[in-house]
Amino acid sequence: MENILIKTENLTKTYKVGDFEIHALKSANIVVEKGEFVAIMGASGSGKSTLMNLLGCLDMPTSGEYFLDGHNTSKMTQNEYANIRNQKIGFVFQGFNLLSRTTALENVELPLMYDRLQKIKDHQKQAKYALDRVGLTDRMHHIPSQLSGGQQQRVAIARALVNSPSIILADEPTGNLDSVTSVEVFNLFQNLNDEGITIVMVTHERDFARFAKRIVEMRDGRIIRDSKIKDRLDAEKELKRVQAEAEIKE
C-alpha cells in the first residue's frame, strides 16, 4: 500500500445541462503506483478528460472517493484543493497554457509564487534548475511567442516540475505538436519517469500510448481495459528514426 499514489473508488462525475444529466464518468476505479507511466486512451467524450480533471483536483467528483498520496480529497475545501494542485500535481496541457508576454523563467516560477509554505526560498534558482532539466536554459528569457511549440511545451513541463510534485498529469501534451517534437516530448517524459517521476497522460494516438508503461482505455465514462504495454517504444530510438525519416522527405 505504501507505493500507491492514486486510488479512486467509484469516482463519478455527472454534469447537468438543462434537464439532461450527462454522466461523464461512471464509477471509475483506478490505482496508480509510484513510478508508473500511464496512458489513458479513448475517443472524445469517453470521460478521459473528466478523469484527468478529477485526478488533477481541478474539479470535484459528484460521488466516490479519491485518495492522492494517502490524503482523501473528497472532504477537502477549495483552498485545500488549491494547495494540492500547488504541492502534489504538475499539470501539462494540450495548449501549453503559458502566460503570454511573460518570460519562460517567470512562467516556470509561477507555481512557487503560490506556495504558501514557501519551502523553496530562491524561486529563480529552482526555476532555472527545472528549465535545465527540460534543456531550455538558453531560452529562459524568451517569451512564449518567441519559442516553438515543442519549446513551449517543455517550458510547461518545467513549470509542472518546479514544485517537485508527486505526479505529472498531461492532458494530450502533444496534441498541438508535429510528430518529431511529439517524440521529443515523450523522450523527455520517459527520462523524467526513469528518474522516478510518476506520469499519467491522456492521448489520442495508440502509437504515442506505447511510450508509456501501462495503458488504460475508456469508453462512455467507464474504464474498459487496463493493461501493461508489452511492446513499449523507446523514445530515444524512435526519435532517431523519425528524424531520419524527416530528413529523407526534405
Partner: protein
C-alpha cells in the same frame, strides 16, 4: 502570497497593457486634478475674502450712537449724536481689553493745495487710529497724542488725495488749506483699495480729532468711537466691557435700552466666509462627480480585463492559486491604477495651480489636507470599483477558465 509579490504581479500586468492602463488611469487623473484644483480655487477665493476683511482691521470694534429715546419718540440709529470726548477718555482710562481707542470726527470740504483743489472727507482721529485700522503709512509720519492735545494743524493724506493735489512732487512738508485753515502735511497713507461698500478708502485726509472739531466740524459731538481689542478672541469680552463703560458714562439705568450700538467685523466675515465655503463645496462636488466617473472607467476596464484574461486566471488556479489570491491580484491592480492616477492627478493639479496663480487673476491655494483627501478618495474608488471585477475573476472555476477561448 507576500505583499511584495502581489505588488510585483499587479504592476507587471499594468505595464503589459500600458496604453490601456494609462487611459484607465486618465479618468482618475482628471478626477483628482479637478477636485484638487476646484477646491484650491475655492480656497483661494476664500483666502482673498478673508484678507480683504482683515484689511478692515480684524480686531476692530465700532461704537456708534444708538437710537435716541426722547419722550417716547424713537429716532433711527445715529439720530441723536451723543458721543463726546469724555466718552473716549473714559474708555481709554477704564477699558482693559483694548489696545487703542480713537474718536472719529467726520467732516469734509474743499481742500486747496499743490496743483489745485479737491473735495474730500476729513476725519479727525486719535494717534491710535492707524493701529486700530491696521493701516500703515507709505511715507512720513503720523501725528502723536501731543499733536491731538495741542490741536496741531497737521494732516496725513490718502493716496487718492495725493494723486489729485500733488501728482508730481512729494507732499510731505507742504501745506494744504482745508476750508481756509492751513494744515501741514506730515505723512501719506498706504493705498488700501476699496471699502466693502465700494467707496475708496484712499480718498481721505486724517487730522488730529481736536483740531478737526475746533476748526472744521464745530460742536461737541463725535460721530463714532473706534476701538481695537487686544486680540480676536477677546472681542466678545471687550464688547461686554465697552458696553458697561458706555452705559455708565451715559448714566443708563438698569433695564433701559442702550443709546449706542457696538459692532465688530465678525458678522461680515462670517457671511463672506460662508459664501466662499458654499462655492468650494459646489466646485468640489462637481469635480467629485468626475472622480466617480473615473472610477466607473476603472471598473469597466477591469471587467474587460477579467474576461480577456480568463485563461490567465485558469492557469494561475491550475498551478495552485486560491480564489483569494486572484481576488487580491485584481483588486491590487485596480488600487495601484487608481493610486497612480491619483498621484499623477495631484502633480497635475499643482501645475494647473501654478499656471492659475502666475498667469491669471484667479488664485488657487492647495491645502495639504485636500491632497490627502483626494488621494484617499482615489484609493477608495479603486477598492470600491475594483472589487466587483476582482470578485468575478475569483469566482471562476479552473476548468472553465482554462477552456475559455
Amino acid at each position: 502570497m507576500q505583499a511584495k509579490i502581489i505588488l510585483k504581479v499587479a504592476s507587471k500586468s499594468i505595464m503589459k497593457a500600458r496604453m490601456r492602463s494609462l487611459l484607465t488611469a486618465l479618468g482618475i487623473i482628471i478626477g483628482v486634478a479637478a477636485v484638487v484644483v476646484m477646491v484650491a480655487i475655492g480656497d483661494g477665493a476664500q483666502q482673498k475674502v478673508e484678507q480683504s476683511i482683515a484689511s478692515l482691521g480684524t480686531n476692530l470694534i465700532i461704537i456708534t450712537p444708538g437710537s435716541s429715546n426722547t419722550g417716547g419718540v424713537r429716532g433711527g440709529m445715529g439720530s441723536f449724536s451723543r458721543f463726546t470726548f469724555d466718552d473716549v477718555d473714559k474708555i481709554k482710562n477704564e477699558a482693559t481689553l483694548i489696545k487703542g481707542v480713537s474718536p472719529l470726527v467726520r467732516s469734509g470740504g474743499q481742500v486747496i493745495g499743490g496743483v489745485g483743489n479737491w473735495f474730500t472727507s476729513i476725519q479727525g482721529v486719535s494717534a491710535d487710529y492707524l493701529d486700530i485700522r491696521e493701516w500703515p503709512l507709505q511715507s512720513g509720519e503720523f501725528f502723536t497724542d501731543r499733536d491731538v492735545l495741542a490741536r496741531s494743524k497737521v494732516c496725513v493724506l490718502g493716496t487718492e488725495v495725493v494723486k489729485n493735489l500733488f501728482p508730481n512732487d512729494d507732499p510731505i512738508g507742504q501745506q494744504v488749506r482745508i476750508r481756509n485753515t492751513p494744515f501741514k502735511v506730515i505723512g501719506v497713507l498706504k493705498e488700501k483699495g476699496q471699502t466693502a461698500t465700494g467707496s475708496s478708502n484712499d480718498d481721505v485726509i486724517l487730522a488730529p480729532s481736536r483740531t478737526v472739531q475746533d476748526r472744521l466740524s464745530g460742536g461737541r459731538f463725535i460721530s463714532s468711537i473706534q476701538v481695537n481689542a487686544v486680540s480676536a478672541d477677546k472681542i466678545p469680552a471687550a464688547i461686554a466691557e465697552l458696553k458697561s463703560i458706555m452705559r455708565e458714562a451715559h448714566k443708563i439705568e438698569p433695564g433701559m435700552e442702550d443709546d449706542f450700538t457696538i459692532r465688530d467685523q465678525s458678522d461680515l466675515s462670517e457671511a463672506a466666509t460662508e459664501t466662499s465655503r458654499i462655492l468650494t463645496i459646489l466646485l468640489a462636488s462637481v469635480a467629485g462627480v468626475s472622480l466617480i466617473v473615473g472610477g466607473i472607467g476603472i471598473m469597466n476596464i477591469m471587467l474587460v480585463s477579467v474576461t480577456e484574461r480568463t485563461r490567465e486566471i485558469g492557469i494561475r488556479l491550475s498551478v495552485g492559486a486560491r480564489a483569494s489570491d486572484i481576488l487580491i491580484q485584481f483588486l491590487t491592480e485596480a488600487i495601484v491604477l487608481s493610486l497612480t492616477g491619483g498621484l499623477i492627478g495631484v502633480a497635475f493639479s499643482f501645475l494647473v495651480a501654478y499656471l492659475l496663480n502666475n498667469y491669471t487673476e484667479q488664485t488657487a491655494y492647495i491645502k495639504p489636507q485636500i491632497i490627502m483627501i483626494a488621494f484617499g478618495f482615489a484609493g477608495a474608488i479603486g477598492i470600491f470599483f475594483g472589487f466587483y471585477p476582482a470578485k468575478k475573476a475569483a469566482a471562476l472555476n479552473p476548468i472553465d477558465a482554462l477552456r475559455y477561448e
